[in-house]
């Protein structure tokens, strides 16, 4: 029996707009799973092995909902799994097994692994997988889809960064959010031409700049590190960036789709070497996931003058749990406050917001003390002269 195939993939933050376009350009049907809500979380958690990490449970719940709601369609679930000793490598066999046990059969999982070093072996293997995924296309069609999707990813990231920059500076609360939502929808539905995407991006960035806001304010700066999926998906990290921004914080997220893929796919070697150097004495070998990145980025944030770092830690994630312990040493040695926030299906807004607020209050008071100290020092050096 031949059924038309519908593609689907893990929804991750706003980047879904770009991945959706990729399949559309190639002429395929594609459906994006809904973001997590209490029902998908419950379904994912109750059907997963208890020891699996939280992101797996989230994704299982989201996919299960999509597949069940569309029994007449046949899905190819694209899973982008990376190398490494953590559980990421088990995702696709487990999807297969569990979904089948749940009585859902209208799918297959296609695993596109990352490019393993060395690249001359990794790249051909990656291409082979891609071909298996989307079939043979005229090479230029494939390249075009790739380039346009890439542009959309980039455009969405630029908008998102602007958005988080503006929130704590806007004069009318909510005005940047409105602007961002509109801009995102325009990029999402932009015609599939690089030129149009560029044009829309520039227009919208300009519009966002015109929002009434104060530019020259000194805000506490917080860097966000942690496991890539949780960090990049606002629906599962309880919109941590937006919440912090509304509390009057300048936030910076360490992992974005662009730098994450570039570092892993193209510059693997330099990237690993750089991490090794920065992390010397803490964690200079690969432990899977993004544990090493979390430590490196915490150190780099401190060096860039950030006031504090928040680690987003999915419950049951091995690399991040290991990193958490090491981060408490980094925190002490570098005198940088680190708040590790663990996420699972029970993480309610209440305790979460309390921790964020207390952390921000603390950074603010640390700032005051520092500025007082430096003033006192200046005064001292003047009098002793």
């Amino acid at each position: 029996m031949h059924r038309k195939i519908t593609y689907t993939f893990p929804r991750m933050g706003y980047s879904y707009a770009a991945f959706e376009s990729f399949f559309k350009i190639l002429g395929y049907d594609v459906m994006v799973p809904d973001p997590s809500n209490s029902k998908t979380l419950k379904e994912g958690v109750s059907n997963s092995p208890q020891g699996m990490c939280f992101p797996f449970k989230i994704l299982l719940g989201q996919f299960a909902k999509l597949l069940k709601e569309n029994p007449d369609k046949y899905f190819k679930i694209v899973s982008l799994e990376s190398y490494g000793p953590c559980r990421f490598g088990y995702y696709s066999p487990l999807y297969n097994k569990i979904l089948e046990d749940m009585g859902v059969t209208n799918f297959e999982v296609v695993n596109v692994e990352g490019i393993y070093p060395p690249w001359y072996k990794g790249v051909p293997r990656f291409i082979k997988k891609l071909v298996k995924l989307v079939g043979w296309h005229a090479p230029w069609a494939g390249v075009r889809a790739f380039v346009i999707a890439g542009w959309k990813v980039y455009a969405v990231e630029r908008l998102e960064r602007k958005f988080y920059h503006l929130i704590p500076r806007e004069k009318v609360s909510g005005s940047s959010e409105k602007a961002f939502n509109r801009a995102f929808e325009r990029i999402h539905h932009a015609p599939n031409k690089v030129k149009s995407i560029k044009k829309i991006l520039n227009e919208e960035l300009k519009k966002m700049d015109q929002i009434d806001h104060i530019d020259d304010v000194e805000l506490p700066k917080v860097g966000l590190v942690g496991e890539a999926y949780m960090l990049m998906d606002y629906s599962n990290n309880l919109e941590i960036e937006k919440k912090l921004a509304y509390m009057g914080v300048d936030i910076d997220r360490s992992l974005w789709v662009t730098n994450w893929t570039l570092d892993r796919l193209l510059k693997t070697k330099q990237h690993l070497k750089h991490m090794k150097e920065v992390n010397k004495g803490y964690l200079d070998f690969f432990i899977g996931g993004d544990g090493q990145e979390s430590i490196m980025n915490t150190i780099l944030y401190k060096k860039k003058g950030f006031d504090g770092v928040i680690q987003v830690l999915p419950f049951g994630c091995l690399p991040e749990t290991a990193a958490k312990q090491i981060l408490s040493n980094v925190s002490e040695d570098y005198d940088v406050p680190v708040l590790s926030l663990s996420f699972d299906e029970q993480t309610g807004d209440a305790g979460f917001v309390t921790r964020l607020e207390a952390f921000v209050d603390m950074l603010k008071s640390r700032r005051e003390i520092k500025s007082k100290e430096s003033k006192a020092k200046k005064a001292e050096s003047v009098t002793t002269r």
Partner: protein, 332 residues
């Protein structure tokens, strides 16, 4: 007319209501069990406190209101708060006022516990435990019931013990089964209670203070700080005196009352306080799932005399944005 500031701390098990005077001193502080809805408890506390202070001072004017605790948002819209503050900052503020050179604050409440690290009068680190019951007042209450010794007597019993039994205290389940075992082996209630206190403190420090430097002065506050047995266990564990400040049970409410007062003084704003009449209004809360989009947000609604005064939990602002105009009117 006496000018006062009001602080309310709504936790899951207890609600604290505090009135302070112009010198930040507590003139009335209530520590109430949250029975039924927190709204009822808040109103009950305000009615009681109002009766007391008007009797003592005649007419009073509330010039600032602050709320804290896990129910701070709800309390804030019900009474009309000027400041809604997280409990870490509120607790630390009050502790630093009492013990200016404090370095470590232990806080144990009914349902959660926290540790706050202070250097030079400012919070530099903190940890909070909201998931695990080992290390909270509820755990103690529960065990008191099991042993058949009223919780108020726990401290006394603990002090009488000569050789506390060692109770495995990684988690409540183990602690409980271990305790039953020791009981069956014939240990006295005194020794068991002292052992429990030690295990509670060990547990707390293991969970919250792991790898952190514990420096004096130590301050211990929250509902459990009434318990002499636990105080003693803390002193033993840290090898130093542990100070229990005055108003130890109501520090959060006291702290947020002072913070709200300071906020009003600095900004010169008028208070949002809706007046003591709110105790006579009818309040309802409602939780529903929005079906506006796939997020299916769990939205909370607060209704006052049939009119919605607050929404929260909606990610897109679909509900809360409807209110902006009304909120402004009520703030006038």
């Amino acid at each position: 007319m006496k000018e006062l500031a009001l602080g309310i701390d709504v936790g899951s098990v207890t609600t604290k209501v505090v009135f302070i005077d112009e010198n930040d001193e507590v003139i009335e502080g209530l520590y109430l069990r949250t029975t039924g809805s927190p709204i009822i408890t808040i109103k009950k506390g305000m009615t009681q406190a109002y009766a007391y202070i008007t009797k003592k001072y005649g007419d009073v004017e509330v010039m600032a209101v602050g709320t804290t605790g896990s129910g701070r948002q709800l309390a804030g819209v019900i009474v009309g708060a000027d400041m809604v503050k997280n409990e870490i900052s509120a607790h630390a503020y009050a502790a630093i006022r009492e013990v200016p050179d404090a370095s470590t604050i232990f806080e144990m409440g009914g349902q959660d516990s926290k540790i706050i690290f202070i250097r030079n009068g400012a919070v530099v680190d903190f940890a909070m435990n909201t998931v695990c019951a080992a290390g909270t007042g509820s755990f103690l209450d529960h065990q008191a019931e099991r042993i058949g010794v009223p919780i108020e007597k726990f401290g006394e019993y603990a002090l009488k013990s000569e050789s506390p039994v060692r109770i495995a205290g990684r988690c409540t389940v183990f602690a409980e089964s271990d305790m039953i075992h020791k009981q069956q082996m014939g240990a006295t209630s005194e020794d068991i209670i002292a052992g429990l206190s030690e295990s509670l403190v060990r547990n707390y420090l293991n969970n919250l203070a792991r790898g952190k430097e514990l420096l004096p002065k130590f301050v211990f506050q929250g509902g459990v700080s009434e318990n002499i047995g636990i105080i003693k266990a803390f002193e033993q564990a840290v090898g130093h005196e542990v100070i229990v400040p005055k108003n130890n049970k109501i520090m959060g409410a006291w702290g947020v009352a002072m913070l709200a007062k300071r906020e009003i003084e600095i900004t010169g704003r008028q208070t949002n306080f809706k007046g003591f009449k709110i105790t006579e209004l009818k309040h309802d809360t409602r939780v529903f799932y929005c079906d506006g989009c796939a997020n299916n947000c769990e939205v909370y609604e607060v209704i006052e005399n049939g009119e919605t005064i607050a929404y929260w939990g909606d990610r897109c602002g679909r509900w809360s944005n409807r209110l902006t105009s009304k909120v402004r009117i009520s703030k006038k």
